[in-house]
Amino acid sequence: MTFDELVPVWRSSRNQPDPAQVEQYKAGIASHLGREYREFLWHVGLTTALTIFLAGGFVQYVRSGGAFDWQLEWAAIVFLLLPIGVAALFVRGFIRHRRQHPRYDLSIRDGLRALIDENRLARARLRVSMTVLTVAMALVPVVTYQLQLVGKQRPHEAASMLAVFGAAYVVSMAWQVWKYRRKLLPESARLRELLRSYEP
């Protein structure tokens, strides 16, 4: 049996999908998209609410005449500014990526190149995130020390803060290292191998 002998079988009616099955898949897609949209709203809503709550609370405190000594409490400001700096870096990386691959949709090969760059960007984001998280963790003792110095935090509150931030740091770092090594690096290797198969 040769390849050419099987071409008529390929073009026959039995190599066509069942319309009822296609409809069932469409229903599955609609429910998947709905779930994805709800999850997106939940994440964006939660992040926005937390940011507004924290930043708004601080601004409200200062505006209502609350005592704030910039020289003695600078670490808390640096701590609050860190996420904004990270967000700015992420946006810059995304804009650069879009400029480097303006027509990723021209061919599958172009799309693969863009995907490899996207993977590189995702790994760079994780490296930045892990570095900033470590800097933030190193700042926590300074923040608690300064807050105690100006009488805004008691020793047992400082201990709780260190414990919560320490636990969050360990969990977050473990998840990011796992994602970097077990997901992004193998994915990068797989995509590069696929792109290599395009070379004559």
């Binding site: 049996m1 099987l6 079988v9 066509q16 296609v22 998947h32 696929l194």
Partner: protein, 172 residues
């Protein structure tokens, strides 16, 4: 920006006219229960690609590019995989080639044999041969993949020989 009603209308019309492309890609890249996962992945990729479609190219060429791209980069997500497969198995959806009353079982076996031989190829080769079987010209295949036309010809010639050898091995 396209609204969701227009997006749905275009998506529905593409599926009405070109569902066979998705069926062929699914069976050419996945077997068994994996087919449910890939089919859903292809449909999601197509849905998301609708707003990027420009009338300058034919819908079929666009659909070939999107679905083959999704199949080439597809890697089943273990976490959601079991949930998706279970959901479709509960509905008794079977994506395997159907049995045609007029031609009967042997032809279906031949088709499954051909798909199995295609799946034994490297991913890029699978995509190239599926496109050719679907009647896409060398020039269009070259455009879809970003290869030269002569390169496509050379590769397809080599793939056909390899497929014939595999088929003969499987049937002997």
């Amino acid at each position: 920006m396209m609204n969701s009603t227009d997006q749905q209308a275009i998506f529905d019309s593409w599926l009405r006219e070109h569902a066979a492309i998705l069926h062929h890609v699914t069976n050419g890249f996945a077997s068994g229960a994996d087919r449910h996962d890939l089919m859903q992945e292809l449909m999601l990729a197509l849905w998301r690609a609708v707003p990027a479609f420009r009338a300058a190219s034919l819908p079929s060429t666009f659909i070939f590019r999107v679905t083959h791209n999704a199949a080439l980069t597809w890697k089943r997500a273990e976490r959601s995989y079991r949930r998706r497969v279970d959901s479709f198995q509960q509905q008794h959806i079977d994506l395997a080639p159907s049995v045609d009353e007029a031609h009967g079982e042997p032809a279906t076996e031949q088709l499954e044999l051909l798909y199995s031989a295609i799946r034994s190829l490297e991913p890029l080769d699978r995509s190239l041969v599926l496109l050719q079987l679907d009647g896409v010209s060398y020039a269009q295949i070259a455009e879809i993949h970003g290869l030269s036309e002569s390169n496509v010809g050379v590769r397809l010639n080599r793939i056909k020989h390899r497929l014939t050898a595999t088929l003969q091995e499987k049937t002997s």
